[in-house]
């Protein structure tokens, strides 16, 4: 087990190197020039050239890549071309917001999906099944930005209230923080519920037809025990994979909700980096995302072993 984990951790290194090089090259293929943007509307071509020189953009791409890689290996992500702030600091500011948003909505999604999915499977083709599937369908089809705008419209119009605008860390003011996050949690949770419920339902249906479930019932085990020990545990394997992917995606792709509810998370950091062609910032953010994907995948793989004793790692 230990050697397996060590091998997987070592594999992170080439993964990050490949991701880093790809990102470095692809970012520079984006249309738009950072130096022009920084110079602004009143700049002359000479001004732009001066900025380009200062930023090292006139160096060959190999030299630029070498400089960046050298800094990165020393643990230095660089500084934002615009703000001059260290990139780690910017990521440290945005990541907790996205994590809070993701984890909250995941909790809601998992709790609701498990209930709906299991009921839908156990009571297949009943009114409960149809109800759960309709809810899941809505979750799959309604976009978060639409739900977000609708939620704000309804509460502001009919209750003359809106969640406190902006972001207040939970350690500063938990009540304000909860008010700021409650709608994003519910909306994102609802949207995630769609896919997860369907996954739970189909996994459960598959397991329900297995011989060991019939055997368990034939042995006279209580239905709740059969459900918990034999059905749910086995059905969770594909669901775990889905949840892992969702978590990583959520951390980076919640831009619509971040925009609507004014939450300064990773999505907005990413968008700002792209819009302003802040190359180093963009590289830093994507590398962090790559690391998260690798880390979560490793975690999910290890959890397989916990859920299913037949899976062992050598």
């Amino acid at each position: 087990m230990t050697s397996y984990i060590a091998r997987r951790v070592l594999l992170i290194v080439p993964t990050v190197i490949v991701a880093g090089v790809l990102i470095f090259v692809l970012i520079r293929l984006l249309p738009g020039d950072l130096a022009v943007l920084m110079a602004g509307e009143s700049a002359t071509p000479e001004d732009v050239e001066r900025i380009r020189e200062n930023l090292g953009l006139n160096d060959s791409i190999v030299v630029q890549l070498g400089n960046w890689a050298g800094d990165f290996l020393r643990g230095d992500f660089g500084v934002s071309a615009w703000t001059g702030q260290p990139i780690q600091q910017e990521i440290k500011r945005a990541l907790p917001v996205s994590l809070e948003l993701s984890i909250g909505s995941m909790i809601i999604s998992i709790a609701v999906s498990l209930v709906l999915g299991v009921i839908a499977a156990v009571k297949q083709d009943s009114i409960f099944d149809y109800g759960a599937r309709v809810v899941a369908l809505f979750g799959l089809t309604l976009p978060t930005f639409w739900l977000g705008v609708l939620a704000l419209l309804v509460v502001s119009k009919y209750f003359h209230w809106v969640p406190p605008t902006g972001y207040t860390p939970i350690y500063e003011d938990p009540w304000t923080n909860v008010q700021q996050f409650i709608f994003p949690w519910l909306i994102q949770g609802f949207v995630l519920t769609g896919l997860t419920t369907r996954m739970v339902r189909s996994s459960c249906l598959e397991v329900l037809r297995q011989d060991y479930v019939r055997t368990a019932r034939a042995k006279g085990l209580r239905e709740s025990l059969v459900l918990r020990r034999h059905i749910l545990k086995n059905a969770m394997l594909p669901v775990m994979t889905l949840i892992g992917i969702q978590l990583v995606v959520l951390v980076t792709l919640q831009l619509p909700l971040e925009q609507i509810f004014a939450l300064p998370g990773m999505g907005r950091l990413l968008l700002g980096s792209v819009n302003f062609r802040d190359y180093e910032m963009l590289q830093g953010v994507i590398i962090v995302i790559a690391l998260m994907i690798v880390g979560v995948n490793l975690l999910i793989d290890l959890l397989y072993g916990v859920l299913d004793p037949r899976i062992t790692y050598k």
């Binding site: 249309p31 738009g32 020039d33 950072l34 022009v36 943007l37 920084m38 110079a39 602004g40 509307e41 009143s42 700049a43 002359t44 071509p45 001004d47 732009v48 001066r50 900025i51 615009w82 703000t83 001059g84 702030q85 910017e90 500011r93 945005a94 977000g148 705008v149 704000l152 419209l153 509460v155 502001s156 119009k157 209750f159 003359h160 209230w161 809106v162 406190p164 605008t165 902006g166 972001y167 207040t168 500063e172 003011d173 938990p174 009540w175 304000t176 008010q179 925009q259 609507i260 509810f261 004014a262 300064p264 907005r268 950091l269 700002g272 819009n275 302003f276 062609r277």
Partner: protein
Amino acid sequence: MNERNYWQRLGHRKLGRRQLLRASAKAGVGAAGVALVGCGDDDDDDDAIAQLPTAEEQAEQQAEQQVPQEVQQAEEEEVVTVEPSQPKHGGTMRVGLPGDAAHLDFALRVDIMQARNSNLVYSKLYTPKRGPIAPEVEPQVADGFPEYPTPTETIVNLRQDVYFQDVPPVNGRQLTAEDLVVHFNYITRDAEILAFNYAYEPVERVVPTDKFTARYELREPFRPLVDYFGDWYAGNLPPVEVLEQDGNLKSTAIGSGAFIMKEWRKEVGIFYERNPNYFDQPFPYLDNFEILVVPDASARLAAFRGGDFQYLEQFPTALVDSVRSAVSGVQEWPIDGWHQGFILQSQRWPDVRRRQALSRSIDRDALNEAIYLGFGKPSGPIPPMWGDLARPPETFENWVYDPQGAKNLMDAAGYPDGIDLAVKIGPYGGDYEASAEAAIASVRDAGYDLTIQTPVYADWIGDVYTAGEFDIALVPFLRPQLDVQTYGYYHSQSGGNFIHVADPDLDVLADGLRAAPTDEDYRAALLKFEDHLAEQCYYILDVQPPFWYFGQPYLRDMNPGIASYFWSNLMHVVWFDV
């Protein structure tokens, strides 16, 4: 921002008699009230702001209607009667803006958040005079208007009661003539790219003659200098201590303005408090000011509707009815906005008849009605925001809608079958995009078949403003100095001449404007300049759009105008009538 910490606030909370009375009254209201309270805002907020009633406040009002008579009497004893028309201190203004500042250095590239921050924190020698049009400035920290002992000298006297904010490392020291030297040196230094620093090109140096007087020595007569002192960007006066400490003004903003910047939380907002030592007492009236970053327009509208924001600005005309219906008694101010129109890369448009044909083919009145509900103003060569210094388009033959005349001009220029061109449009959206499409549809009558190209923002700036890589583009622009729209746009030696005009006659006229010794001379020179522009059609303005500003019913003395764009000379006078 210590008091923003919930736990500290909890520790510091004192339970007053009023709170006790309210609490006991609330307890009797029942579950409905409690439910509403649960949806409401934080009752413990020390920064409680004057707003429209929130759900919680409505619950409190219901509760108070049911309190026993003696309790009400006890409360009434504490009520301080204030005449509704008397300005008073207090309240927190909360405003949402779509984006955060990249940095806070006004001398570098400017943006929407940064410019507003500068106008809250810093003072200027002169400031655009509040009002519907923009041609005048008035003294701010200057003591009266400048003196002109010779055509190349401008003497400025400072007020002696102006102090910087009492924040380290400046610590509330007095503003002196030395600060004018620091300001000039900072905004004209060579080290970095500076925003609009060409405005100070004619100034040779600044020499303090005593503690509160400075002499600006000019290379040539430069009458508009006083207008540039009031510039939204380059006019702000920074303290030398911050420059010595940080080397720039990117993250620290300390000035002598009405509000002290308490905290800048990246991508969240900027938080201010009243400057108690502001030289222009009793201003400012507001205790606190908060700019929140809310990228989504509908979320800003919802916050306004819910009473969380007191003020909305720059909403597209298409959403005006939504705002009007959102808040009962909402105040609205459709002020003159930027000017916009087609710019023609002059080197690629040598034949004046093609330019004139384009101008004649734009139906400015129809465009105004269709896009701006008639609230815009059809524009001549000098935009209407300059009041009586600008003449309306019908004054000029080439600026009157005349599709047949336009067609004839195109025939004469050798284009009887019209011409296909790509027109570059900036990625600004909203009214701008809608009006661009309408204008493009309009010029088809003259044979101009324009295809829209919308580059990404970086390419838009690079191609249009820097490199001149365009045939025709539709640009919005706004500056508070007429000199920018005369010398700045059109003089062949100007850094702001992104149209690439090289017209010797226009150079002479623009130089004459800068050197005009009196107001009368200036007006006479401007008439000639405008006539020449109307004939040559280098920058074909169509309609000056309105900017829509909205305020809660209890905002007083707001009255934004084009001169107070970016909140220049505006927010310190605003108060809440609650």
